[in-house]
């Protein structure tokens, strides 16, 4: 899928015979700039400016006593020595390691089931699985939050009516698992759709060939389908990694239901939010955000490299 980009081997960089004299060429270069200027202006304003500004902010420190001063990389040194930052990062890393494989596994299984054409009412099933994605995250979290309630919610009712004592999903030990469940519910359908659309573009001739060779369904899945959608798998994984590291809505909404289980530094995003909005530590918050951005980029990049290497080896 990505190999096509490499096929273009026209030697653009090298000067060709009959190049116009130097002066004309430099004028022509400026004409080119004119063409890309509108794009560059928007790109700079919308994409680069906020990043550059955050970096600029992160080099200062404003205090209640003493005002604003330039501190160089002090904020970054502090972030790297900040236990609360590492705790929150470790928490989302754990979330990533457990929730993402489960979510993608279920999504893949559903996509393969629908693609097998053996399901009755496959379209209805597909829509139903996808539906949670259309529910706003805040609403979804509130909905699940009420079910989790051990005094007033579904868990509470089950305990009361069946005489059980289920563990409280909103207790500090289980709350991350409960959030993982909500996120899985929300995004299985979305990832399923990515996989399913990738499955749909596999040429039918491959299946016919497999059938002629006497391959069973499992064989078709492992030898044709999975290799063919590897690109989609890598993309979905990268999006999920980014999503996990940026976890914010679900724990933030659940905080009011489980105030003692979800603190102000539950996830790195919540930490940055709390630092800037209630702590007035904008500079430190900017440093946290940038460190988090870099960590996310590195991990996403590593996954992409691994994914692509395997693909080119296949």
């Amino acid at each position: 899928m990505t190999a096509t980009a490499q096929s273009d081997s026209h030697p653009r960089g090298k000067p060709r015979a009959g190049d116009p004299p130097h002066r004309t060429r430099s004028r022509r270069r400026w004409v080119g700039v004119g063409f890309i200027a509108p794009f560059l202006a928007v790109f700079t304003l919308v994409f680069l400016a906020p990043i550059v500004y955050s970096i600029y902010l992160s080099l200062f420190r404003e205090r209640l006593i003493g005002g604003n001063s330039f501190v160089g990389f002090d904020n970054y040194v502090d972030v790297l020595n900040d236990d609360q930052f590492w705790t929150s990062l470790a928490r989302v890393a754990l979330f990533l390691a457990v929730q993402v494989p489960i979510m993608l596994g279920i999504a893949l299984a559903v996509a393969l089931a629908i693609d097998s054409r053996r399901l009755y009412a496959a379209n209805l099933f597909r829509i139903t699985v996808f539906l949670p994605y259309a529910v706003p995250a805040v609403v979804a979290t509130l909905m699940w939050g009420f079910m989790y309630g051990s005094r007033f919610g579904l868990v509470g009712s089950i305990n009361e009516n069946l005489g059980l004592s289920l563990p409280n999903p909103l207790s500090p030990d289980l709350v991350l698992l409960s959030i993982g469940n909500i996120v899985t519910w929300e995004f299985v359908g979305y990832n399923m759709l990515i996989f399913y659309s990738a499955l749909r573009v596999i040429p039918l001739s491959l299946y016919e060939a497999a059938e002629i060779d006497g391959a069973g369904q499992w064989r078709i899945i492992s030898a044709i389908k999975l290799p063919a959608i590897r690109g989609a798998l890598v993309v979905a994984t990268i999006f999920s990694i980014i999503g996990s590291f940026q976890l914010f809505n679900e724990p933030s909404v659940m905080q009011s239901l489980a105030p003692n289980a979800i603190g102000t530094y539950f996830t790195p995003n919540m930490y940055a939010y709390s630092l800037s909005f209630s702590g007035q530590q904008y500079n430190y918050s900017a440093a946290v955000a940038i460190v988090m951005g870099i960590v996310t980029m590195i991990i996403a990049y590593v996954v992409q490299l691994r994914g692509l290497r395997r693909e080119s080896a296949a």
Binding site: P50, Y53, S54, L57, E62, R63, L64, I65, G66, G67, N68, P136, A137, R151, F152, S171, P172, V183, E186, F187, Y190, N191, A236, F239, S240, I242, G243, Q246, L247, F248, N249, S256, P259, N260, A261, G263, T264, Y265, N269, A272, Y273, S274, S276, F277, S278, G279, Q280, Q281, Y282, N283, Y284, S285, A286, A289
Partner: protein
């Protein structure tokens, strides 16, 4: 894009944060507004009121609406725009950002006593001594007055106050034949008896509330926060704090506290359906009772706050707000005219009539106020108990100059005591350390 909504929210947050800082940069260089620091006498305030102008007020206190319309009737040339910019923390964030931006700052802003030092420290508020407001000292009760002063400076005028009292559901106490507690030891006994008689009833609910805890420590004689200019002392292990933690730890350990968070729907339901037997809180509570826990009408009563020593009369403040004039207001003189009207003059009485608990001695001692009987409280003359409490607030308390943030991170540390992962006394020390750390990064000298 997976979880794109999450990303949008966080991006928006980052942008907002960036924006507010962008505004900071502009704000610091701009001038301090039209008024200089000169003294302004009462006649000048009066002529400013007659000359008129537009005023913007940021407040969430509902009784101010009537005050504004009365005020405009009296001074037709003044136009007051009352804006609800959020309650508590939300408003402080908006105010802080506006002050830094140097634009969009209101002429008057409601600020709770505990949050006042933070704004005073940032030199964000006008010292009202300029207008001779210091002479109003005798008009207000001591607790709120201490709340608005900082050294010689006076950063606002008290709007209401919250001396604490014990609200209790009389039907529960009668049904199980439990005496209304006058000491905290009796309170613990009552908690045990009631919960034993009916496991669905709890003495009260608590999942960790910084405002409540600090007020309890205040009543117990603790002085955990001491501020001398930029030098701050935090000691959440003093004897007053220990008094509170020893008792409250027993309530937590014996599971005598309902795990319902205050101000939630469930909490109001609990107050209404007889599953919460008491509530120790500020004197502004009656209006909330009759407004939101209607099911229990006639069942609740008010008694003095339980004591640490038998026969004592100590109480503390919980909540309460002042009205301030931000330093960036360009119409400080006119703003002070409204401020004085709303807090000390006719406006104060208007607000009391609508159910606010006054911080003015004249209203607190007026016959009509004291003798008012409340049908919700079974005809009890509730204000008699509450106004007596207002005179019994323990003196010498102060909040941190960054109490807003400290309260915000309270759950991170003290929350553990309520989930069993720590004890209250240990968790409070952890909170103390977190406060100290924040204080030193903000440039305070910590002791």
């Amino acid at each position: 894009m997976s979880r794109s909504r999450t990303r949008h929210v966080s991006r928006a947050a980052a942008l907002l944060a960036a924006l507010s800082l962008a505004l900071t940069a502009c704000g610091s260089s701009s001038s301090q507004g039209g008024d200089s620091g000169e003294k302004v006498d009462a006649a000048a305030v009066e002529s400013a009121l007659q000359a008129g102008g537009d005023l913007t007020v940021w407040a969430w206190e509902p009784t101010l609406k009537k005050v504004v319309s009365d005020f405009q009737a009296k001074y037709p040339k003044v136009h007051v725009k009352l804006v609800n910019a959020g309650t508590g923390n939300d408003q402080y964030t908006a105010l802080q950002n506006a002050i830094k931006a140097g634009s969009g700052v209101p002429d008057l802003a409601q600020v709770e006593y505990y949050a006042l030092p933070q704004f005073a420290l940032g030199k964000s508020l006008t010292d009202l001594n300029r207008f001779g407001a210091g002479s109003l000292k005798s008009s207000f009760t001591t607790g709120p007055w201490t709340g608005v002063t900082s050294g010689d400076a006076l950063y606002g005028l008290p709007m209401d106050s919250g001396p604490m009292a014990l609200f209790y559901n009389k039907t529960i106490f009668d049904k199980y034949d439990v005496a209304v507690p006058t000491t905290w030891e009796q309170y613990l006994e009552a908690a045990r008896k009631i919960h034993k008689a009916d496991p669905k009833i709890y003495i009260t609910s608590d999942t960790g509330d910084a405002g409540f805890t600090t007020s309890m420590i205040w009543q117990a004689g603790g002085k955990p926060f001491q501020v001398q200019g930029t030098s701050v002392k935090v000691d959440l292990a003093d004897s007053g704090t220990a008094r509170f933690t020893q008792l409250w730890q027993k309530l937590i350990d014996e599971k005598l506290l309902s795990p319902i968070t205050g101000w939630s729907d469930e909490w109001y339901k609990g107050l209404g359906d007889g599953s919460l037997a008491t509530l120790v809180t500020g004197a502004w509570m009656p209006a909330n009772f009759s407004g939101a826990a209607t099911a229990a009408s006639g069942q609740w009563r008010v008694a003095p706050m339980p004591q640490w020593t038998a026969g004592g009369t100590a109480t503390a403040e919980n909540g309460g707000s002042s009205l301030t004039v931000p330093a960036a207001s360009r119409k400080a003189t006119l703003a002070y005219g409204f401020l004085r009207y709303a807090t000390a003059d006719a406006g104060a009485t208007t607000r009391v009539e609508q159910g606010a608990f006054p911080a003015t001695t004249a209203d607190l001692t007026s016959e009509s106020f004291l003798n008012k009987s409340f049908p919700y409280f079974g005809g009890q003359q509730v204000n008699k108990v509450l106004s007596e409490a207002a005179t019994q607030v323990v003196s010498g308390w102060s909040y941190l100059p960054f109490q807003v943030y400290a309260n915000n991170i309270y759950k991170d540390t003290v929350g553990k005591a309520y989930t069993g992962a720590s004890t209250l006394s240990k968790a409070l020390v952890a909170w103390q350390d977190a406060c100290k750390e924040y204080g030193s990064t903000q440039g305070f000298t910590l002791q």
